[in-house]
């Protein structure tokens, strides 16, 4: 996923986009989670922009939004699995975490698409 860029102009958001939170709701360098359809999604505010991924660590379900962030990865607070926020890959593991496209516009973080698996 490309880091989202601040929206410009008046082009409309894709149909079905959901306002997740305000930009200010997630402190810089941290994550917060939110219930969405059938899962929790973690929203992360990093130096490389906002990212959204499934919040449950594929290892033992640790809350990734409580992890430590670097520019574009998060480390699970339970056992240190490290997930790349851009593509959901996990360091040294074959599992992946689902990522979601976001757009930040006028201080609001929009989730562009989410559907049940």
């Amino acid at each position: 996923m490309k880091p989202p860029e601040a929206a410009v102009g008046t082009e409309s958001l894709p149909q079905g986009a959901i306002a997740l939170c305000l930009e200010a709701d997630v402190p810089f360098g941290e994550g917060r989670s939110v219930a969405m359809v059938d899962r929790r999604i973690g929203v992360f505010n990093t130096a490389a922009g906002f990212f959204a991924i499934d919040n449950d660590c594929p290892h033992q379900g640790g809350p990734l939004s409580d992890g430590i962030l670097a520019d574009a990865c998060v480390t699970c607070p339970l056992h240190g699995w490290r997930i790349d926020l851009r593509d959901g890959t996990v360091k040294d593991q074959s599992e992946t975490v689902r990522t979601y496209p976001l757009e930040v516009r006028d201080g609001t973080v929009w989730l562009l698409q989410v559907e049940a698996e």
Binding site: V43, P63, I68, L69, T75, R82
Partner: protein, 810 residues
């Protein structure tokens, strides 16, 4: 002159012995043509791990000893899934199907097969052997949760099958002919321990039961024993023993008794024909465990390659196993000779040595297998044992450095310490995984990996693996980063990141840098919560389910009815799932939701216990002179005073302390990071003790005359540790690394002025401490304690933090 082209070696059998032989031959001769005939449909796999096929649903390919490429790279020709039909000893030829090929030498490694006892009904459906992957496949099909499984045979293999079936949710009963389990390896007390472990996973055991019939129509429905009793079951797994597979050898006219008879060169009765492993009988013994087979293969390989060397003189059978989750080592024979035993049934520990004619001849170690490499080496080399009890206790303290080079580190793959050390030195290896890949030590069951790591650390002088760098991405040590902070006057983690590039790639170094920034700036740094673990963002300890635990400060472990009432009320009101007394004399409220933390702190009205942080956790105390008949001084008041003095300061790693009022040491001060013990006429101060993952008796830093001096020295040491230890280095690691003398000089030499300077910096840092739980009323961010879809149970509306501090609750 012409040389005949070498016809090479034929290895018949595809088990662990065949693989070990090939590897041993390739060590001596990289060109000799080798053909491997595997009767089973797979290249050699690790049969020791067969249970994984049932328990973990693994595939045989997961158990393979070497991948396909290895055989290609090592020029091994192989045939799988077809059995050799004949061996001609005069021409040393092997017949497979229509084809017959001549070789220079032939080695039989045909292994063994499961014994099928002549019990009535043995041929019914639902009766399975436990030997081959295909057996496991059939067993798995039957092993539905709740299915009743009867395992006949309480030897090692039977127990492994039983455990795997229990793990799948089957209702398992082990039926054993003898009066105790694993009677060949274990004596009665050890077998009793095993029985207890089996009870814990709900596996039933029936001993002294001779099965005379498997009942049922088409499909097995139960067992009938010789005494007339019966046991209902849905299926049966047979594991009553093995017998050497010798048909091929017999037909070839070789001498065969219980196994194929071999001499000290591992040669059979026909020249050029060898046998190794479970099919071979040496000096009247057929070995059924894997360790002796490596010895045999070494010798056979030398014979085949035509290299002189030691001949085979038999092996001391040894096995290191995990049975029913219990670590177990069996060496030689403990049934004869003079024996000594150390036993702690409650802790599940049993250690026994047998000594015959002053030499170690057997050992059983259960629950605590430390030192087995040393004991095995003593048994193998016939070393003299003068004081068996001392040998037994010393062995458990042996470090990797003390092991002789001949000591076998990896039992699965037969790798000695010497081979590992050579590989590290000659190839310049620095990582555990590299050593595993090169030597294969640790590639089997993996239990020896920690020992391999220790060897790497010793050989590389501690420079191996990733230990040295605080930021491995940029290869920066803690010292590098500390220098950078001082040089640039950095006040925050972000500023450090700008100076040296740390934190950006993986972020793992952020908490360590956060500590350094705060320590170097005397606790007057610019705090950035994103650099802290979640524990330090919400001042509570995250649990496996994402909830948190709350431990209020209870100074010295002394509380009051009033505090207890408030704790009880909070636990009721917020439906706290567990209230637990901790090892550090505190009360832990477990399973608290993040958004309830501020409200709970408010209602407790107690300061943070810092149980979540790298900080001074607790000062435990004993009752002391106020109430105790033996008390020499006031341990409670001393502990409470110290805890007030130290609370809230971050440290490189957690710090646990204790104060005991007399040398009986009820507060266990001798195994604390800092421990004070009242002695006749003064106080002893101990440092660097531990009783967790490591156990270490604290060193006596000093014995002083007064309580005030003891407290002053302790605080001086705490600050010295705060300034000098690596991040995440406990006091015991620090004291061992730098040495006690270095610490004494820094902390005790008042003339140098350094101790007073340490205390001054301590006072400055302490003056900036704020109770983090006060953030309940004034969070650093509106969402500090909540998610996007939740709100904190306590609205952040109180007065600012500073006003509260002056109110005095910190």
């Amino acid at each position: 002159m012409m040389y005949a082209k070498p016809k090479g070696l034929a290895v018949i059998g595809g088990g662990m012995a065949a693989q070990a032989l090939i590897e041993a031959v390739r060590k001596h001769d990289s060109e000799l043509p080798i053909t491997l005939y595997c009767g089973e449909a797979h290249l050699p796999y690790d049969r020791v791990r067969l249970t994984e096929l049932i328990e973990k649903g693994a595939d045989v390919s997961d158990l393979r000893l070497r991948p396909d490429e290895w055989y290609e790279d090592n020029k091994i020709e192989f045939v799988v899934g077809e059995r050799v039909s004949a061996v001609d000893t005069s021409t040393r030829s092997v017949t497979l199907g229509e084809e017959t090929r001549e070789f220079d030498s032939v080695c039989l490694a045909t292994g063994s097969e499961a014994l099928v006892p002549p019990i009535e009904g043995i041929d019914r459906d639902g009766v399975y052997l436990y030997r081959y992957p295909v057996d496991c496949e059939m067993i798995v099909e039957q092993a539905e949760p709740g299915a009743r499984a009867a395992v006949i045979g309480g030897g090692l293999l039977g127990l492994e099958a039983a455990k795997a079936l229990a793990a799948l949710g089957c209702d398992v009963t082990v039926v054993h002919l003898m009066d105790r389990l694993m009677e060949r390896q274990l004596d009665q007390p050890a077998a009793d321990l095993l029985l207890a472990a089996m009870k814990e996973i709900d596996v039933e055991v029936l001993t002294e039961r001779s099965t005379v019939e498997i009942m049922g129509d088409d499909h097995a429905t139960g067992l009938r024993f010789a005494d007339g009793e019966t046991l209902d079951c849905d299926f049966v797994v047979m594991s009553v023993g093995i017998s050497s597979r010798t048909d091929l050898a017999k037909e070839a006219g070789l001498t065969v008794e219980r196994g194929v008879v071999v001499d000290d060169a591992m040669q059979t009765s026909a020249p050029g024909i060898y046998a190794v492993g479970e099919c071979a009988q040496h000096n009247g013994i057929v070995y059924g465990i894997v360790a002796p087979i490596y010895d045999q293969c070494e010798v056979a390989a030398r014979s085949i390659a035509g290299i002189d060397g030691e001949s085979y003189g038999g092996s001391i059978p040894s096995a290191k196993l995990k049975v029913m989750g219990v670590d177990l080592v069996s060496v030689g024979d403990v049934a004869s000779g003079e024996t000594v035993t150390v036993s702690d049934p409650e802790a599940g520990i049993y250690r026994k040595l047998a000594v015959t004619d002053g030499k170690l001849t057997g050992a059983v170690l259960m629950g605590d297998t430390r030192g087995y490499e040393l004991l095995l080496d003593k048994a193998k080399t016939g070393a003299e044992v003068i004081n068996p009890l001392e040998t037994l206790s010393k062995a458990s303290e042996a470090t990797a450095a003390e092991l002789p080079d001949t000591a076998q580190v990896c039992n699965c793959n037969g790798v000695c310490k010497g081979e590992i050390v050579d590989a590290i030195r000659e190839r310049g290896l620095t990582g555990t995984q590299e050593v595993v890949a090169v030597t294969r030590a640790g590639a089997g069951c993996g239990t020896c990996k920690s020992l391999v790591t220790e060897l790497v650390q010793i050989e590389t002088g501690g420079a191996g693996d990733e230990q040295a760098y605080l930021c491995p991405c940029r290869k920066l040590t803690g010292e590098d980063i500390a220098n950078s902070i001082r040089e640039h006057g950095a006040q925050s983690v972000s500023e450090v990141a700008e100076c040296c590039g740390a934190t950006r790639e993986c972020g793992g170094c952020k908490p360590g840098i956060a500590y350094l920034v705060s320590e170097i700036n005397d606790n007057r740094h610019r705090e950035e919560r994103h650099a802290r673990y979640i524990n330090d963002r919400v001042h509570a300890n995250i649990q496996k389910d994402g909830t948190f635990s709350v431990v209020p400060r209870i100074y010295g472990g002394v509380t009051s009815p009033d505090e207890l009432r408030r704790i009880a009320d909070v636990a009721d009101k917020y439906e706290v799932p567990m209230v637990k007394i901790t090892g550090g004399q505190r009360i832990d409220l477990l399973g608290v939701k993040k958004e309830n933390l501020p409200a709970i702190w408010e209602e407790l009205g107690m300061p943070s216990g810092h149980a979540y942080a790298k900080a001074v956790r607790t000062v435990k105390t004993c009752v002391g002179e106020n109430f105790c008949r033996f008390g020499l001084d006031d341990s409670i008041a001393t502990g409470i005073e110290l805890e007030h003095e130290w609370e809230g300061l971050y440290t490189p790693h957690k710090v646990k302390a204790a104060v005991s009022g007399c040398p009986r040491n009820c507060a266990e001060a001798s195994t604390k990071d800092i421990g004070l013990i009242a002695v006749e006429g003064g106080w002893q101060v101990r440092i660097g003790g531990a009783a967790g993952a490591s156990v270490r008796e604290g060193d006596i830093l000093v014995t002083v005359d007064t309580k005030a001096e003891a407290m002053r020295v302790s605080t001086t040491f705490l600050q010295h540790y705060r300034e000098n230890a690596e991040y995440l280095e406990r006091t015991y690691g620090y004291v061992e690394r730098v040495g006690l003398d270095f610490v004494k000089e820094a902390v005790l030499n008042e003339e140098s002025g350094e101790p007073e300077r340490l205390r001054e910096r301590f006072r400055i840092a302490k003056a900036a401490v704020v109770d983090p739980w006060l953030e309940r009323n004034n969070p650093v961010h509106p969402k500090q304690f909540s998610e996007l879809d939740s709100e904190p149970a306590l609205a952040p509306a109180g007065p600012p933090v500073e006003a509260l501090i002056e109110g005095g609750s910190a």
